[in-house]
Each structure stands twice: as C-alpha cells, then as structure tokens.
C-alpha cells in the first residue's frame, strides 16, 4: 500500500485564513503577515499516479473555489519555490484513535467512483504562514510553533510538524485478549489507596475496602475488567455519591444547630417532587430523562447534562459530545429530540495570557471551540438550539461549564424499559475505539496542569451524522415495537449501559462480538470505551431481522453482543473466557455511603440592606455599562450560529422584536407532530454571582428566574417542571459542601413555593483546578435550573418587545431591589455590599395573576427583571420594539430603583383600554403603573427631582451590541 497526499487550496479569499490571521494579531503575533489554509487528505491505496489524479479531480476538485494537487508521501520534493525563507509550512494531523467522521465518507465515495483499491483515508490541515521579511528562518519556526500551540492545533487530539507530517493509520494488530488479575485481598489501607490512584479510579478508602470485602467473600481476586467496571459504576459521575452521602453539618458560632442529612437527593430534591405530587409527571429521576404530560396524546422529556472537564481540554470535542450525549439521553426514553438548550460559562475573554494558569487553554479559544462544538452537533442532527445563556467569570477560566439540554416528544405509552429473559443485547450505532477511556472517573477528579496530557484518551469526538441515523432507526423501531428496553452508552461505556439495563435481570456478554474502529483493544478497553453514538437495546430474537432491515436502510450498524439471562449476574466474556462475573447487587448497591462534613457559614451573606453614599454617579453611564457587560450584552453573534428553525416548531425564538435582536425570556416550541395549539416553553435560571455570596438565596432566586421567564412568555405556572444542575468545587472541602447543602435546601424550598417539581438532575463536582502555582482554583457555586412549561395555546404567547406607543407599562411583583452581588457592583467603581435578593412568598400569586392577564389577552409585552434590574429590563424592551419608554418613578433611592436587583418581578405592557381589567386581576397584589410606551425612540426615566436616564434607543442598541470576543485584548 502507498499513501498518497491530496492537497486542496482555496483560490478565492478564505475566511478561515482571515480568522486565524486576526486571532494571531490579537495574540500579538504581529510579524505574521499572511496565512493560507489548505486541506490535506492522505489516501492509503494501490492507485496509480493517473488514477490518483482522476480521483483528486472527481472527488476533491471544485475549480471555482479551490485547486487540487496530489503526490505521494513522503514527498521528496522540497517546498515549492514560491515559498520564501520567511514562509513556514506547518501541518497538523489527528492523533491515533481520534475519531474523524469524514474519512469513512471519503472511502465510501472513492469506492462508489470505482477506486476500489482505496483502503484507508486520514485528513489533516496545512498552514502556510508568511512572516515579515525581517524575520529569520529560525525565528519564523519558533513563532510558528507558538502560533500552532495557541491557535492551530490542540495537542490533546492533534500533532503538528513544520514541514510534511505523516498521517497515522492504526496498526492492525490483534488483541491478545489478555486480562490482568488484580490482587486486592491482602492489601493494606495505603496500598488500596495507591491502587485506586494508579488506575485513576477516584475511589476512597471505604470504597476500596468494600471491594476488598467482596473479594474476600467470593474468595478470589478481581480481573482488571471487573475492577475498572466497579470504578466506573461507583464514580461520582454515575452514582452521585456526594448527593447520596450522609452529611454532618456544622454552623460555626451556632453549634447547637448542628445536624445531619441523609442524602441531599432524597432530603431536598426527590422529597420536593413527592410532596408536590403533580398529576402530570410521568417519570422523575428514574430514567435517562424526566418526562411530563404534553396533552392527551403526547408526553415530553427533558434532560440537561454537563460536559465540563472534557470541554476544558478539548473544547470542540467536549461540547460536541456533550450535546450528543444528552440527545441520546432523550433517545433513551424513546423520545424524538425536538429542541436543544445550551448554557455556557467561560473565563473572561480578555484575560491576559500572563494570568492564565499553566496548561489551561485561553478562555477565548475555549469559547470558540465550545460554541463550534454545540453548533456542529445540534445543526447536523437537525435539532433546533432554542434557549441558553452565556456567562463570564474569572472563576471559569480553567473550568468552563458546558450545560447541554435536550427536549424530546413521544406518543404516550410507547417507551418500554423491561428487558425479558432471552432478549438479545444489541448495540446500535458507532463502533468502539479507545475514545474516552475512564471518562466517568476523569470527570470526578480535580484537574491539574497535566490533566490535558494524561487524560488525552478521555476526549471523544462526535459524529453527529451517525447519531442522526440512530435517531432515525430508534424512533421507527419504537413505533414498530421492536425492543423491550433501551439505554444510551454514556460515561462508562458498555459497562455502565449494559450494567444498568440488565441490573434487574442479568446479562451474558461476548466482548469479541463488539465491532471495533481498529483492532488491538484489551478486553477492559472494549468494555469501558466511551466511543460515542451508541445505544444498547433489549431485543427479542424474533425482532432482530426487522431491526437489521431498518439499520440497513439508515446506514446504522447493529451488533449482537449477548443475552439477558435472568440469573442476576453480570457475566462478560472475551472469546468465551469469563473476564467479569459480578453480583449485580454488589455492583449497584454495594457502594458504601460516603460520610462527609459540611460547614455552613452564613455570616458572609451580608446585611439585608446597606446604607451607602455614592455621589456623582452618572446613571446614564451605569446603564450603558450594564448593557455592555458580557453577561448582559447581546448573544446574537452566537445565537445565529445555531439552527433554531429546523423542525419548523420554533414559534418564540431566542431573539425577538422588530429587528429580531432583543432577548426572549423563553423559547416556545410547537412540535410538528402534534395537531392542537399546545406548545412547550423552555427557559433557565442561573446566577453564579449570587452563588458566591449566599447559596440558599441564590437557589431560590434562580428557580424564581427559571419560572418567571416561562410565565413572562405565557406558560402556565401550575404546569412547570424544573431540572437541577449543580456545578461545584471539591465536596471534601467542608465549606464547599456547606454551600452545596444550602443550595439544595434552597432548591427544595423554592420548588415547594412555586409548586414546580424536579424531574431530573445532574451534578458535576470537583470543578477545581490545581494550578502550577500550587493554588486551588474553584468555580463559583453554579446552579442551573432549567424549566419546561406547557402552554395550552401557543397563540397566547407574548414576547419582550414593546408593541405600541401609548400603551401603559406596569411593574408587578414585590419590588425590593438590592445591590448584593448585583451586576451594578460589577460595573460600578464602588461596590455596595449587602445581601442578595430574597424571594417573596407572594411571588407565586403574582405569577398566576400575570398568567391570567396573558391568557385573557391583556398583555402585549412582558419581560422579567433580572441582572441589571429595572433599567436594563426596560432598555431591552425598547430594543425589541424600537420604541421609546417614558418612566416616572416615585422613589427615595433612585440608584437602588434603577439598578438594584430583585426577584419575582415582571414588566408588563398593556393598552389603555385593558388597564382596569389588569388592575382588577392584581387587586390584592403588588402592581405599579410606572410609565408608557412612546413613539419617539427615547428611553427616559424621571424621578421627582431629576431625569436619571435620557438615551436614544439607538444609543441603547449600540451599547447592547458589544462583541463577546473583543478584537483587542487589554
């Protein structure tokens, strides 16, 4: 076999090259003058030179946009003469084992064209970097290496070389099937811990001792397959051991209050759902996703996952597979995915390189990669991305947060989850490689400067088109009732998927049947691989052929790997030899409950209200600064990268208003398969600023935010379900665990207050980074509440944009603005330290009244008050309508009224004629008439003595449209 190179070069101006050049200049590589990007294809084949040229012409050529050249590898000819000494050719290729979805398409296409000797293909990138003529050759090489590391290649998945790179084709070696035996029975405590660490198992001493006891009881040692399986199954990622732990809580200064909590999930989350006992919940906490009633015929599911650690080291792949994973969660309850949500948290985009911890990618690069990863997967699977948020905080520099959510729909009664004895165990979808080995335990560990290097194998790259095939097959198989149970392959791979699906019955697996991307995997690697795009199904033998037919039609692979047994043991073989034989009960129930300590110190929460004295504040400038703050400013540059229209059901879009550039509070989906006017509203609440100061009130505030966003759009507050996602630091630190306990308690109280049950949740702990400086960097305590509401009639939905001059503006809800952890404090020269806003007991009534008003058609526009307070809310409404507003406020403390933050409040626009009906609905509730909509596009806010804000809507729009990634870094 010979490896040929095919190179395609753009012949028109190339935006990709322009982006690299401008990014290089942002990073102060000013000597770089020109960049050219070319695509490299390595073709392993027995093609003659003429055949190669024909193939290049037929498959790779497009004479209008690119030229194509081909030669053999390694090239004997030096770089073409046109490249001067100040020009460097740098090539990038993927590391071994990294998924490259394009190559199989190329091989298929080459065969289709009759070039049957094409055996394997690899891809790469080739950069021509041209420097100022004053730059010497050695300088140019040095600069290229730095640019490569910063912009062109990520060492975790790619390697690069100046000059010609060699592609990597995996050697086709057969695995010996060797299994290692791990002696555990006679180890000391220290040796047990060392074993856990050596194998990156993230198990503590108690857990290791439980394994030891099991070995003693069974009177044998474990195989590596067994040990790794236990480590995965018992990982924080899979069993949420912190949330199930017994926690002793201590309150410094109030020792008598000390208490003990037996499982945060049970005590605070599931208990709230049970107490609310909503009749429309179909499944909460038990399956891959939570499920609620949609209408008489359909049900909808919602799941939100995190993919933080993988996104930190390979942003594109991490976010990409995060989206892919949550889509499979929804597919795992037999639902068709109909919408995605994405909430992203990054470090400051202008962080200087000197302040970056060692081994950490720059937040700019993380953001670009994550956004591209979300875009790629959502768009290519044909699922609209309709809701989300992007937040920035220094605390996310090393630990970005990537929350991926997916909503699905299905006719009621089709999802089954009971495998039968003798059912076959079927894998559908992608093949298995070394991708993502030990991902579950990796995500449960604190990262350090070397994580990127050693965890390379934990990175997965997605293949959205294979996932699309999976969706096509599974939904049809569901309708044909071809399976008895289904689950997705996520963290822990087959070990976790087969383990879970067979937990109640038992299974016997032959690992040699698993189809591999390349040969040579050890049995434990096959069993634990986190290769993406795989589902595991329980299929009765007589249904296999029908399922196979579906798979053939949709180019999806089906592999039969074993049988459900009924003997309650998990048995795994390799070439018929048993490599794992564990008792299901031990595997799934044998983990000892963790005993943890928490300290709750509420003294940092601050006084309810501070007296302050700030003179000479130009309120207009504060508003403009707030509108330009990265957390508040327009996210349109990201939103337009996501296909939010596919499937034709997005009736309230992420952006709204005359120019479609103002923020919506929630998205509304009217699913194509349904016939009635019922729709789904989707929103979220998140506030890490509050989390830093007061986790309990933060939790209340974000549940309130998630609910009020839905209510503002028209959803029925008595039919809202919520999901929790906790991203915290190290729970072994008692203060960190203390704030987690407080947040969970807040979730409980808020759920009961609003009567919004939790239907699913997820935690991602250990979001800490041990920098090369020896300091521990933790993220702000971050709770994402995702909310889903049912809207009986989508035609009643309202948007945030002002509709008509002359209409009246009302402020409803208990308006108690405070400055604690407000965005005012982030932009003001002097922060005002006080408590964060609390949630008023009257708020649910306000929301119900607002819903009544919307249902009755009294409301033309509605928007909630959140970051930046009243002034930002009204400014955003003006942007949407390109109309002005004149507010006259009666308050002794203008600054607080304008910029203080509050919960439970909405701004409503109503026509003069509807005013009395509205006031009547709110007769026992807080409502203030604060102004009116004006034709003249000016935002004018008056207090009795002075004009606080007087800005044209143009000025407001300009301030709000700041780029998220400024070109020049400070």
């Amino acid at each position: 076999m010979i490896v040929h190179r095919v190179i395609t070069c753009p012949i028109q101006s190339d935006p990709r090259a322009a982006k690299i050049l401008s990014a290089a200049h942002v990073l102060e590589f000013h000597q770089l003058q020109r960049v050219e990007c070319q695509n490299l294809y390595f073709i392993e084949s027995q093609l003659s030179h003429e055949e190669l040229q024909q193939l290049a012409l037929k498959l790779f050529n497009d004479p209008i946009t690119q030229s194509v050249t081909s030669d053999e590898v390694p090239s004997k000819s030096p770089a073409p003469a046109s490249f001067k000494s100040d020009t460097v050719i740098l090539e990038v290729a993927l590391r071994p084992g990294v998924t490259d979805p394009v190559v199989q398409e190329i091989v298929r296409a080459a065969h289709e064209l009759g070039f049957l000797s094409v055996h394997r293909v690899a891809t790469g990138l080739r950069f021509i970097l041209q420097y100022e003529s004053s730059v010497s050759k050695s300088e140019a090489n040095f600069l290229s290496a730095s640019i490569s590391a910063a912009l062109l290649a990520n060492g975790v998945i790619q390697h690069w070389k100046i000059g010609h790179i060699e592609p990597y084709f995996p050697e086709e070696v057969e695995s010996t099937g060797a299994v290692e035996t791990i002696s555990i029975r006679n180890l000391s405590d220290g040796e047990l811990l060392a074993l856990s660490q050596d194998r990156r198992a993230a198990l503590d001493l108690n857990e290791m001792k439980a394994i030891q006891a099991y070995c003693c009881k069974e009177n044998r040692d474990l195989t590596d397959v067994e040990f790794e399986t236990i480590a995965q199954t018992w990982s924080e990622h899979c069993v949420h051991k912190t949330f199930k732990a017994k926690i002793d809580v201590r309150y410094p200064g109030h020792e008598a209050r000390a208490s003990s909590i037996d499982s945060l999930i049970k005590t605070y989350l599931k208990s709230a759902t049970e107490e609310i006992d909503a009749p429309w919940i179909r499944s909460a906490f038990v399956d891959n996703a939570g499920i609620i009633d949609f209408d008489d015929e359909f049900e909808v599911s919602f799941k939100v996952e995190t993919h933080n650690h993988p996104s930190a080291i390979e942003p594109f792949g991490g976010a990409n597979t995060g989206v892919g994973g949550v889509i499979r969660d929804v597919l795992g309850v037999s639902h068709k995915p109909i919408a995605n949500t994405d909430v992203l948290c990054f470090g400051g985009q202008t962080t200087s390189f000197d302040r970056l911890p060692k081994g950490v990618l720059h937040p700019r690069r993380i953001m670009s990669g994550v956004v591209s990863g979300v875009q790629d997967y959502g768009n290519k699977t044909g699922i609209p991305t309709v809701n989300g948020a992007i937040l920035f905080d220094e605390g996310y520099t090393a630990n970005p947060l990537v929350f991926c959510g997916c909503i699905g729909i299905a006719p009621k009664g089709l999802h089954t989850r009971t495998p039968q004895e003798y059912d076959r165990i079927i894998i559908l979808g992608g093949r298995t490689g070394r991708d993502g080995l030990r991902g579950a335990t990796f995500s449960s560990m604190t990262m350090n400067a070397k994580t990127g290097e050693v965890a390379g194998a934990s990175v997965q790259i997605g293949d959205p088109i294979t996932e699309k095939g999976l969706i096509d097959v599974v939904i049809r198989a569901r309708d044909l009732k071809l399976y008895h149970a289904i689950t997705d392959c996520g963290a822990g791979g087959l070990s976790s998927a087969v383990g879970e699906i067979s937990a109640a019955i038992g299974a016997d697996i032959e690992l040699k049947s698993v189809r591999l991307k390349y040969a040579g995997l050890a049995p434990w690697e096959v069993w634990l691989s986190e290769a993406q795009e795989r589902m595991v199904l329980a299929v009765a033998p007589q249904n296999i052929s029908a399922l196979q037919e579906l798979c053939d039609t949709f180019d999806t692979e089906l592999t039969d790997i074993g049988v459900f047994t009924g003997n309650h043991r998990l048995v795994v073989r390799y070439d018929s030899n048993i490599v794992l034989n564990l008792d299901n009960e031990f595997l799934h129930e044998g983990i000892p409950q963790r005993q943890l300590k928490a300290i709750i110190d509420n003294s940092i929460c601050g006084d309810a209200k501070a007296e302050y004295q700030i003179s000479n504040i130009e309120t207009k400038d504060v508003l403009l600064k707030l509108l330009s703050h990265p957390n508040i400013t327009s996210k349109s540059s990201v939103i337009h990268l996501y296909d939010y229209e596919v499937q034709g059901g997005t009736v309230i879009k992420p952006l709204t208003g005359v120019q479609a550039d103002a923020p919506s509070d929630a998205a509304v989906i009217h699913p194509l398969v349904t016939k009635g006017p019922t729709g789904i509203a989707i929103a979220n609440g998140i506030n890490p600023e509050y989390g830093k100061r007061d986790a309990y009130n933060m939790a209340l505030a974000v549940v309130d935010e998630a609910v009020r966003n839905l209510v503002a759009t028209g959803a029925d507050p008595s039919h809202i379900a919520i999901l929790d996602n906790f991203c915290w630091g190290d729970p072994l630190c008692p203060e960190t665990l203390g704030s987690l306990v407080e947040a969970a308690r807040g979730c409980h109280d808020a759920a009961l207050l609003f009567q919004t049950p939790f239907i699913s949740g997820k935690d991602s702990l250990n979001n800490e980074y041990l920098g090369a400086d020896g300091q521990q960097h933790a993220i702000p305590p971050t709770l994402l509440i995702s909310s889903i509401g049912i809207m009986e009639d989508i035609t009643k939905a309202v948007t945030t944009d002002l509709k008509e001059a002359g209409n009246t503006l009302f402020l409803v809800g208990e308006f108690k603005p405070v400055f604690g952890s407000s965005h005012f404090n982030l932009v003001a020269d002097e922060a005002i330290e006080e408590a964060v806003p609390s949630v008023s007991a009257i708020t649910p009534k306000v929301f119900h009244a607002a819903h009544q008003a919307i249902q009755s058609g009294l409301i033309r526009a509605a928007h909630d008050l959140s970051e930046g307070g009243l002034s930002v809310a009204i400014a955003e409404m003006c942007i949407g309508g390109r109309l002005g507003a004149k507010l006259t406020l009666n308050a002794s403390d203008p600054l607080r009224t304008l910029f203080g933050e509050t919960t439970g409040c909405l701004l409503l626009e109503a026509s003069e004629g509807k005013k009395d009906m509205l006031l009547n609905l709110f007769r026992d509730l807080p409502i203030q008439r604060i102004g009116m909509v004006t034709k003249e596009p000016i935002l004018n806010i008056q207090f009795s003595t002075f004009t606080a804000i007087d800005l044209t809507v143009d000025q407001v729009v300009r301030a709000w449209n700041q780029p998220l990634q400024p070109e020049i870094m400070q």
């Binding site: 209008i64 296409a109 990268l641």
Partner: protein, 263 residues
C-alpha cells in the same frame, strides 16, 4: 388518488419532515423514501409526480456540502432523474438539496455547461463571512420560467440555515446566460423588494447577484438555499406577536403542487 411527492432521505437529511408538512398543506401526498431503499428499485422514482431533495447535512458535508449526495445521484439515479426531469415533472432541492443539484451538474444547466475536463461551471461555497448562519431573510420570486416561482409577486419571508450557500459561477458569461435565460428564480432583497446588492445580512452569504435560488433551462427544477418550508404557518413568523401575519413560504409549494397536478 392525490399526486405524490417523493422526499429523498440521505444519511444526514434533516428537514425532510418540515418540507413534507409544506407539501401536504399545499395539497399533495409526501412519501419518504430513504436513498438506500430507492437504490433497490430505481424505477420507482418515475411513479411520483414530484421529487424533493430536502435540507440537512448529507454525509456530514464531507468534502463540501452536497458533494457526496451529488455523487450518489450521479452514480445510482442518473438515468432515472434525467428521465424524470425531461418529462417535465417538478423537482425542488432546498439547501442541502440545492447543493446536491448544483454539485451533480443538474443545475444550472443539466450538465450541458460542464467544463472540458468534466468540472462543474457553478458551485455553492462557504458563506462570505465564513460561518454557518441561521436568520430570516426576504426573497423575491423572479423567474417566470420556473414552475415554482412563476406568477408569484409577493416577497417570501423565511429563514436560511447554512454555511455553504454562496452561489458562484466559473465565469461571467455563464452568469449572463443564467440571467438571460430567466433561470434566476429567487434573489435576496430588502424589505421593500429592492436589490440587496450584496449587502450583508440582507444577502446573507455573498452569493453573486444576490442569488437565493436558480432553476434549470426548462424551468421545472428549482434549487434554493432558504427554507420556505419553515414559514408555512402564521406562528412561525418572527413577528407574529406584533400582528404581522405570515406563512408566505407556502405559496411556492402551492405553485409547485398546482403545476404537478396539471401534468
């Protein structure tokens, strides 16, 4: 029996259900047929009165959007498609379908204008801004030859969602021919119908002459980048809460269905 439209599903197709809804609303039955199934019985294509190549990311856009689907069309269905087109039956390729029609040589000239070495005279390449974008646009039906746009005098509002929608030709001569042949079916325009003149984002991708869609010389094959199938109901319009009433995308499908029914 109602006339039937075949919606061809390739690996990665994703706006198949959206266009089926539009076709059904326009009064025709829509039948999904996966490409692998049609390969088993190619002649089945000729039983249909309309062929639809929907949007999506066939084969992950590998080697350029639509390229590998185009290869399939030429490898497996060249004869059947050419008979279908010559018989005058309507064909529509939306977004990825348009890309496949262009990259298979069916548009703009049924292969007649291919270069000497067999290369294609036109392409849909990366958007000028270098990124995928989803946003609403105004498109103006232009061609009176095209059975899909003929007689339509109102602007159509609908979203685009693509990264490679920038229509370019190998030379100016070909462009003039397309224009003088009345093959420019749809162009991007301002709200008032005036020419976008290449201005972003009115023309969202940098297409030459603001071309959003073209037809073949016969007028029965339309390819377009925007998604009129995503604006067939009032509540899909971004400004319906402001009282703007919509569904202006439906007329295009009604036009095609009317034509198909008349054959």
């Amino acid at each position: 029996m109602k006339p039937q439209a075949l919606i061809l599903q390739a690996r990665g197709t994703n706006r198949d259900f959206d266009v089926a809804e539009a076709i059904r609303m326009a009064g025709m039955d829509a039948i999904f047929i996966p490409l692998n199934e049609l390969r088993i019985n190619k002649k089945h294509l000729l039983d249909f009165q309309m062929l639809i190549l929907p949007g999506g990311f066939s084969y992950a856009d590998s080697l350029g959007a639509g390229k590998l689907l185009a290869l399939d069309l030429n490898s497996y269905f060249k004869e059947e498609i050419s008979v279908f087109i010559e018989s005058g039956k309507p064909v529509i390729g939306i977004c990825n379908g348009f890309q496949a029609l262009v990259k298979s040589g069916i548009l703009p000239g049924d292969g007649e204008w291919n270069l000497e070495n067999g290369s294609l005279p036109a392409t849909l390449t990366f958007n000028e801004k270098g990124r995928f974008e989803c946003r609403w646009v105004y498109i103006k039906p232009v061609s009176q030859k095209c059975v899909w746009t003929k007689g339509l005098d109102e602007l159509i509002e609908c979203p685009i969602a693509h990264g490679e929608g920038n229509f370019q030709t190998i030379n100016h001569k070909l462009l003039t021919m397309i224009e003088s042949n009345d093959q420019i079916a749809l162009t991007y325009t301002h709200t008032d119908g005036s020419s976008a003149n290449g201005e972003y984002p009115i023309n969202p991708n940098g297409s030459i002459l603001d071309i959003a869609g073209i037809c073949n010389p016969q007028g029965n094959v339309l390819g377009l980048m925007p998604h009129p199938e995503n604006h067939i109901r009032a509540f899909q319009h971004p400004n319906w809460t402001r009282g703007v009433s919509g569904h202006s995308g439906l007329v295009l499908f009604q036009n095609g269905v009317r034509y198909a029914s008349s054959l």
